[in-house]
């Protein structure tokens, strides 16, 4: 035992002093990173401490010690609130629709773009398709509302011109249209942008595979099915799993901007719920309970998605 312990303690000493010599040698690196590490602590980690509010009857202006602790009362209230289940349904519905559409359409579009041999046209189509990504949701919501408007909206005018409908549809005023409108707006805004990664993955496939397929007389559809799609399989799986991790943290911008009082039952999502029923009513504790539920469920989803991913590909995205 002694013989084993002795060299260890011998090793310990230089290791400690080595730490300090490296520390001093690294002093500029520490000076360059420490301010931002503290910064991140304040704005990203400290708010986690605010989760304690979810277990209190939080009153602004009182110190932490003076707050009244109420245990799980807010969560009990939350899980007995009918609005909560409505909001959860909306969140999951729009999230699933978004994942399915936002997953399949960019792949198809990327493959289509890749099949275009006319380079100038391809570049033009790409430039145009990335464009809506850079426009704010405020603008997109404005454009969508205008296009779908019952008064001279382009969509209604077009459908009436085709003779499909005889009078304008009130798209923005009917709740049952809302999920679809959000999904289509999202597809319109982000499809082009989401093709970038797939196009890069497709570009990485060896041209000799296509050459060989051509010699064998494979049609272009067959080449897509047997070469392109398998070639981007890993990318597809990574992106799909990442989107599952973000299942309930879908944000609220679209819903806030496209929604209105008439479609409230379909447009309210978790973050909006916490904004309207927590913050705007000064029910900070209740709102925090909603935020906490959201964050914790997201985290669980993300870890399970990552575990799933590991199982499939023996790699990890985190």
């Amino acid at each position: 035992m002694k013989a084993v312990a002795a060299p260890l303690t011998n090793k310990e000493k230089p290791r400690k002093s080595r730490f300090w010599t490296t520390f001093i040698r690294n002093k500029y690196l520490y000076m360059m990173s420490l301010p931002f590490v503290i910064w991140v602590f304040i704005f990203s980690y400290y708010p986690l401490w605010g989760w304690t509010m979810a277990f209190q009857k939080y009153k602004p202006g009182k110190s932490f010690g003076e707050q009244k602790w109420v245990g799980l009362e807010h969560f009990r209230y939350l899980f007995n609130d009918d609005t909560f289940y409505l909001v959860l349904r909306n969140t999951l519905a729009m999230s699933f629709m978004g994942i399915i559409a936002g997953f399949a359409i960019p792949i198809i579009f990327a493959i289509m773009l890749n099949e275009i041999r006319h380079m100038a046209f391809k570049r033009f189509a790409q430039t145009v398709s990335y464009l809506p990504h850079f426009v704010s949701w405020v603008v997109v919501a404005g454009i969508v509302t205008k296009l779908l408007s019952a008064e001279n909206g382009a969509v209604n005018e077009f459908l009436m011109w085709l003779g499909i409908i005889s009078e304008p549809i009130q798209f923005m005023a009917k709740g049952e249209w809302f999920w679809g409108i959000v999904t289509v707006s999202d597809v319109w805004k982000e499809t082009g942008w989401n093709t970038i990664i797939y196009l890069a993955a497709i570009a990485g496939i060896g041209p000799e595979l296509y050459e060989a397929a051509k010699v064998d007389g494979a049609s272009r559809l067959r080449q897509i099915w047997h070469i392109t799609l398998p070639g981007i399989r890993t990318t597809i799986i990574i992106l799909l799993i990442m989107s599952i991790g973000h299942l309930i943290s879908i944000g609220f911008e679209k819903q806030f901007l496209l929604g209105n009082n008439l479609v409230g039952d379909y447009s309210k999502v978790l973050d909006l719920y916490s904004l309207e029923y927590g913050l705007q009513m000064s029910r900070y504790s209740f709102g925090t309970a909603i935020n906490m539920f959201n964050s914790v469920v997201s985290l669980i989803l993300l870890f399970s998605a990552n575990g799933l991913f590991k199982k499939f590909t023996k790699e990890s995205i985190m």
Binding site: Y28, S33, F124, V138, V139, A200, G217, G287, N291
Partner: protein
């Protein structure tokens, strides 16, 4: 069937396929462009004439009156100034913080490298949520300040990791020779590494600038009642929500009163164009940078 026939048949189906691809992509391109052109045409059309409907991509009665009206509204001018200011300040600060952190993380001999990497990566997955952050901003007395636009989001883990993976590709020998010449780590970062990181910095600058320009929710949450700190996106949001079908909070803003001389619809279209135009103007020139940056981030992240 001979080989020749087979080749013929497949080339025929390839031709059909080819046509289908072009039709699909052309339709998608039209569907993307048309809404913008439609809004542009409406913003340049006489507002009483627009009510008749039928405007597609060309104005029927060309006029600049809608733009005259919106630029006579002082809130829009303030919004324009603040939006430009926050875009510049936010981009510069964001670039400095992200590149500095990225540099320390790219140094293999930096002791705290692993800790800081994990520490930053965690922020991409965990967030305190709306209300804890709101109360923090309130406690820090950042409500009704310009600082709230640029300080809370100063460090973005995603941007740091993109720049870091770019810096990893720069030969380390260059830094070592600078070190032999007696340069300290900060000088190496500033003089040697940063100039070589320009393509990645251009990408991140674009992302930062677009995010800053497009933000509206921080104005809504923290500075909504302060007219001197209003942003362009927030003003557009107010006007868009001021219709009868909107949330209705802003039904009686100054803007709607100013708008009485032309129809609110035309004013909305004109502001939409004003808000969008700066992005459309700079974007085509930066395209090659962000495509590179995106793929770099995807490979590493």
């Amino acid at each position: 069937m001979t080989t020749n026939q087979m080749l013929n048949r497949s080339s025929k189906s390839d031709k059909i396929f080819n046509v289908a691809v072009y039709v699909f992509v052309i339709l998608a391109t039209i569907a993307t462009l048309y809404p913008f052109l439609n809004v542009l045409a409406l913003s340049l059309n006489d507002s009483t004439d627009s009510v008749r409907g039928g405007i597609t991509i060309f104005p029927r009665h060309f006029t600049l009156k809608n733009y005259d009206v919106i630029f006579s509204f002082s809130g829009l001018i303030t919004g324009f100034k603040i939006s430009i200011l926050r875009t510049i300040v936010g981009t510069v600060l964001g670039l400095i913080s992200a590149s500095m952190l990225a540099y320390t993380l790219s140094r293999p001999d930096f002791q705290a490298r692993r800790f800081v990497s994990v520490y930053l990566a965690l922020t991409m997955y965990i967030s305190g949520g709306l209300i804890p952050v709101y109360l923090l901003i309130k406690d820090l007395h950042m409500m009704n300040t310009f600082a709230v636009y640029v300080l809370p989001g100063l460090v973005s883990a995603f941007n740091v990791f993109i720049i870091r993976s770019f810096m990893d590709g720069i030969p380390y020998a260059l830094q070592e020779s600078a070190k032999l010449d007696g340069a300290n780590d900060f000088t190496i970062y500033w003089r040697v590494v940063l100039p070589m990181t320009k393509p990645a910095l251009a990408t991140i600058a674009l992302f930062l600038a677009v995010t800053q320009w497009n933000s509206w929710f921080d104005t809504y949450l923290y500075n909504g009642s302060n007219e001197s700190l209003t942003t362009l996106q927030f003003e557009l949001m107010k006007v868009l929500q001021s219709t009868t079908s909107g949330n209705g909070d802003y039904r009686n803003t100054n803007m709607t009163q100013v708008m009485s001389s032309v129809s609110p619809e035309s004013v909305k279209m004109a502001i939409t164009i004003v808000v969008t135009l700066p992005i459309l103007l700079v974007y085509p020139f930066l395209q090659r940078y962000f495509v590179k940056g995106m793929t770099l981030g995807a490979v590493k992240g």
